[in-house]
């Protein structure tokens, strides 16, 4: 991990801590066991577009409206993370990533360290071409919340908790 990556990871983790959002860094080889510790079952998910990891079989990767509603956890990939804000950028997909990240009480976004970027302008610069291609995405920062009922409550229409899984970039020799 380069110094620059190290700083940005640290910044991302600090921002998440300020939001009271848990984050677990893990090697791709330990992904499944990490996920096991994090999720509440039953869990639904959408396919992860990363070569190094995939969803284990005990996560229902083909959710239906019925299983979506009864799921306690939703696992989806994040395209990138914004260190300054602790935000994850969630693409909408035909497999239902938008719904999976929104309905269950716990959302587990999975993203790669190398996809962390520093700030919001960079994030929106990256979104520009994708949106112009017709894609949609959510910049999600912490759990859903409301203060409309007289006090701050987490988990309004969306998840009450978020647990980010950050995939380490893998083995890098000391010389690099």
């Amino acid at each position: 991990m380069s110094v620059e990556t190290g700083a940005i990871v640290e910044r991302f983790e600090t921002s998440l801590a300020e939001l009271d959002v848990a984050v677990t860094r893990t090697r791709p080889t330990a992904f499944e066991s990490t996920l096991e510790e994090v999720v509440r079952e039953p869990a639904v998910g959408t396919p992860l577009p990363f070569a190094s990891v995939s969803l284990p079989a005990w996560v229902d990767a083909r959710p239906t409206p019925a299983t979506l509603e009864s799921a306690a956890t939703g696992v989806t990939a994040a395209s990138f993370g914004i260190a300054d804000y602790g935000s994850v950028v969630l693409p909408s997909t035909p497999e239902g990533a938008e719904q999976v990240s929104l309905f269950p009480e716990l959302h587990v976004p999975v993203l790669r360290e190398r996809d962390l970027i520093a700030d919001m302008p960079t994030a929106i610069d990256r979104l520009g071409p994708r949106l112009r291609d017709g894609e949609s995405a959510i910049v999600a920062t912490g759990p859903s919340a409301t203060a409309d009922m007289g006090a701050l409550v987490r988990g309004a229409h969306g998840p009450e908790a978020v647990h980010v899984i950050l995939l380490e970039d893998g083995e890098v020799s000391d010389g690099e």
Binding site: T64, S92, D148, G158
Partner: protein, 747 residues
């Protein structure tokens, strides 16, 4: 008091009693959060400039952006409808609902849809409309209108909401905590979202290049509303369009911070409809999402409803830059007391609402609350797109003034008020707008005038005729004006000698002390103190005859009169500016008009010249001390001071100078941080607003009666602030110049 004034006073009193506490707590929380959040934001000012430039450009190019957006959305597979007005928009939306044979439409919070009253239109067709934003839903259940742009139920306490829900829904276990209320609402609303045929959202921004709807939310209801049903209708004013996705960046960083003080809201959705997300079809609960092949429908309903005409109006145009963040409302002292039910029209609330209501509904709607803007300018620096909200309110006030019938007032009154206004201007406004004439008369006839002003029948008459509240003590005029006093002691020549006495080597600085109405006729003592302090620091003074700045008529919306005064003031000062003399101003509201509003009245070069060479008195003294003047030449009494800076002085960033000078001279200073004293010139004298003025003032009084401050010497820089503090506290306030005046004995 007239019937209309009494009615208004009663309504305000009612709101202060029933909603005031909840509104105050919430808005002040948001406002404090905003201060903290933007303080952490590097480049805050640069971001605001960037945001404003994007809006200026977008509104300038609006017709072309509407065309581009239409093409983009249609290429994406959606439809765009440009509606002329609310009826047109509603007709289109009803057609969409009818075509879908919709029984239920779920809706996420949107002020634009409030403006359309689309719920009523759909319900007339038998479509059930459900608000899914929790605050908005509370109001739907309670059958009330929103009182705030982003926190619609801000005026309701948790207890009230619990009572409402328990009565309305009769749950098995009575609901009590915020968690219980939220869970109940989530479940109830979730059921309706799953059954809905159509989802309706607004849009915070729409990007012309990609056709993306940007929604800034925290609850997640907008996301569900947009993607669960197969049909999405987005309604948005045309002003929401920005050219490109990249243009949204500064707004994402500013909008949450400006509104509630959150660095960012939980969700910023960038939806490019029709979206690829599968429909959540509970009629087919067991079909996996990835097997669906949905044919989603998307309708973007762009609303004109007066906006394109506002774009052509040189003053209302700026309103279109508004991103509906509510910073102007939250930072407004009056709004903090009464909320949007008083400080708002049919839909929009708070400072910027005057512009919206005038543009969208017409001037009558704006007239209902326009006077609640006192022009204190505290919102100006808080607006993320730098809209001069007080100016919009002044322009609307002026236009309202001119709607009256010409010639309804007597000739005598016209003589008494030598302004530039038509005869129809409200008599109360004209009285306050012509305060200089009144002051001249009061001074010339003092002490008789002052005695008269204390008499019950006179006060009752004033209250009846012009709405000057009898409970508010009137200013007491001095027979000898500041200028008379200055001339009697030898004028400029004598001042030059005095200034040379202690500091001969620096006795060449020369200033013009601006004799504002209040200093010249009423609080002459602070003017004398200013002269002595300046002389003690080696500066000699001139006090030429300069007319009233135009602040008084401007506050009353008498723009033509203010414009005339600006020219007169500049004419009176031009020679002094030519001679390289600085202008020192005691009254912050007068300095503020020189620096801010004169650019609308004077040629650019003249305005720039006056702005560059005019200083607030304590700012000027700070400069002298920084340049080596000896603070020991001033009074260094060492009292503990409770300092309240004038609102317009704070907007100009000048408040710290007074504090620094006092500390330089050995005083211990505690400073108030409330937005405004609640007086704001004539406002606190007006009978319909007296109670509101006192309610706002209470917040300042609380700060200065706390254990730490209750024995401190109260110091205020503004005329109105001093008057208000005198009325609120049992101790007299001073001007900082009097504190520093070497001729002042110990207090």
């Amino acid at each position: 008091m007239s019937e209309a004034r009494e009615e208004k006073a009663a309504y305000i009193r009612h709101l202060l009693e029933t909603e005031g506490d909840a509104v105050a707590e919430n808005t002040q929380g948001f406002n404090q959060g905003r201060y903290e959040s933007v303080a952490e934001l590097e480049e805050y000012e640069a971001l605001k400039d960037e945001a404003r430039a994007i809006k200026e450009d977008a509104i300038e190019r609006l017709p072309e952006l509407i065309d581009e957006l239409t093409e983009t959305v249609e290429a994406n597979g959606g439809t765009v409808y440009l509606a002329d007005d609310a009826a047109d928009a509603n007709r289109y939306i009803r057609e969409v609902a009818a075509e879908k044979e919709a029984d239920c439409l779920v809706k996420s919070k949107s002020m634009t849809s409030e403006e359309l009253e689309v719920n009523e239109a759909l319900e007339a067709d038998g479509v059930e409309v459900i608000e899914t934003d929790l605050g908005e839903w509370v109001l739907q259940v309670a059958e009330e209108a929103p009182s705030h742009l982003i926190a619609p139920a801000i005026h309701k306490s948790r207890e009230e909401i619990a009572r409402l829900f328990n009565a309305q829904f009769d749950p098995d276990e009575p609901l009590e905590t915020a968690e219980e209320l939220t869970t109940f609402a989530r479940e109830w609303l979730g059921e309706h979202i799953r059954d809905a045929d159509v989802g309706m959202t607004g849009a915070n921004f729409i990007t012309a290049d990609s056709g993306t709807i940007v929604l800034v939310t925290s609850e997640g209801n907008a996301r569900k509303t947009a993607v669960v049903p197969d049909t999405h209708v987005a309604v948005a004013g045309v002003e929401k369009i920005v050219p490109s996705v990249e243009d949204v960046a500064p707004f994402v960083e500013l909008i949450g911070r400006s509104g509630t003080g959150q660095d960012i809201t939980s969700y910023v959705s960038f939806l490019t409809p029709p979206v690829e997300s599968p429909v959540v079809d509970f009629d087919d609960p067991d079909v996996p999402f990835d097997e669906r092949d949905d044919d989603r429908e998307f309708h973007l309903v762009l609303i004109d409803n007066g906006r394109l005409a506002m774009r052509e109006d040189e003053h209302l145009r700026e309103t279109l830059y508004c991103i509906r963040c509510s910073a102007c409302a939250n930072s407004c002292a009056n709004f903090q007391s009464v909320g949007g039910h008083a400080f708002g029209g049919e839909t929009y609330t708070g400072g910027i609402a005057t512009g919206w209501e005038a543009g969208v509904y017409g001037y009558d709607s704006a007239a209902e609350f326009n006077d609640l803007c006192t022009g204190c300018s505290r919102c100006v620096n808080q607006c993320p797109v730098k809209i001069d909200i007080p100016w919009i309110n002044t322009v609307v006030r002026d236009r309202l003034n001119r709607e009256g019938d010409d010639g309804q007032f007597e000739f005598v009154y016209d003589e008494l008020v030598p302004d530039e206004e038509p005869g129809g201007v409200d008599v109360q406004k004209r009285l306050f707008g012509n305060v200089e004439t009144l002051a001249k008369l009061g001074s010339a006839t003092a002490p008789l005038s002052n005695w008269l002003a204390t008499l019950g029948p006179v006060r009752r008459g004033l209250e009846r005729a012009v709405g000057v509240d009898a409970r508010r003590p009137l200013p007491s005029f001095e027979r000898e004006t500041l200028r008379d006093w200055f001339e009697r002691r030898g004028g400029h020549a004598a001042s030059k000698e005095r200034a040379a006495e202690p500091r001969a080597e620096r006795g060449d600085r020369e200033v013009v002390l601006y004799p504002d109405v209040y200093t010249n006729y009423v609080d002459v003592a602070r003017g004398k103190a200013a002269v002595r302090v300046l002389e003690a620091l080696g500066v000699h003074v001139r006090i030429p005859a300069v007319p009233e700045s135009g602040r008084a008529p401007l506050s009353q919306g008498m723009v033509a009169t203010a414009d005339e005064r600006a020219s007169d003031v500049y004419a009176a000062l031009a020679e002094h500016l030519d001679a390289g003399r600085d202008v020192v101003v005691i009254e912050p509201s007068d300095l503020a008009i020189f620096h801010r509003e004169y650019e609308r009245f004077l040629p650019e070069a003249s305005c720039e010249r006056l702005r560059k060479n005019s200083y607030e008195a304590l700012e000027y003294i700070y400069g002298l001390l920084e340049n080596g003047a000896d603070p020991d030449a001033l009074r260094t009494g060492g009292e503990e001071i409770a300092y309240h800076s004038h609102c317009q002085q704070r907007t100009l960033g000048l408040a710290p100078y007074t504090r620094s000078v006092l500390e330089y001279c050995g005083y211990d200073v505690v400073e108030s941080d409330v937005e405004c004293c609640g007086m704001a010139g004539s406002f606190g004298y007006k009978s319909e607003y007296y109670e509101l003025s006192m309610d706002v003032g209470e917040r300042l009084a609380d700060q200065f009666t706390a254990p730490e401050t209750k024995d401190r010497l109260v110091v205020a820089t503004g005329t109105s602030c001093g008057d208000q503090l005198d009325d609120l506290l049992r101790r007299d306030s001073r001007h900082p110049l009097e504190v520093l005046d070497p001729a002042t004995p110990t207090y």
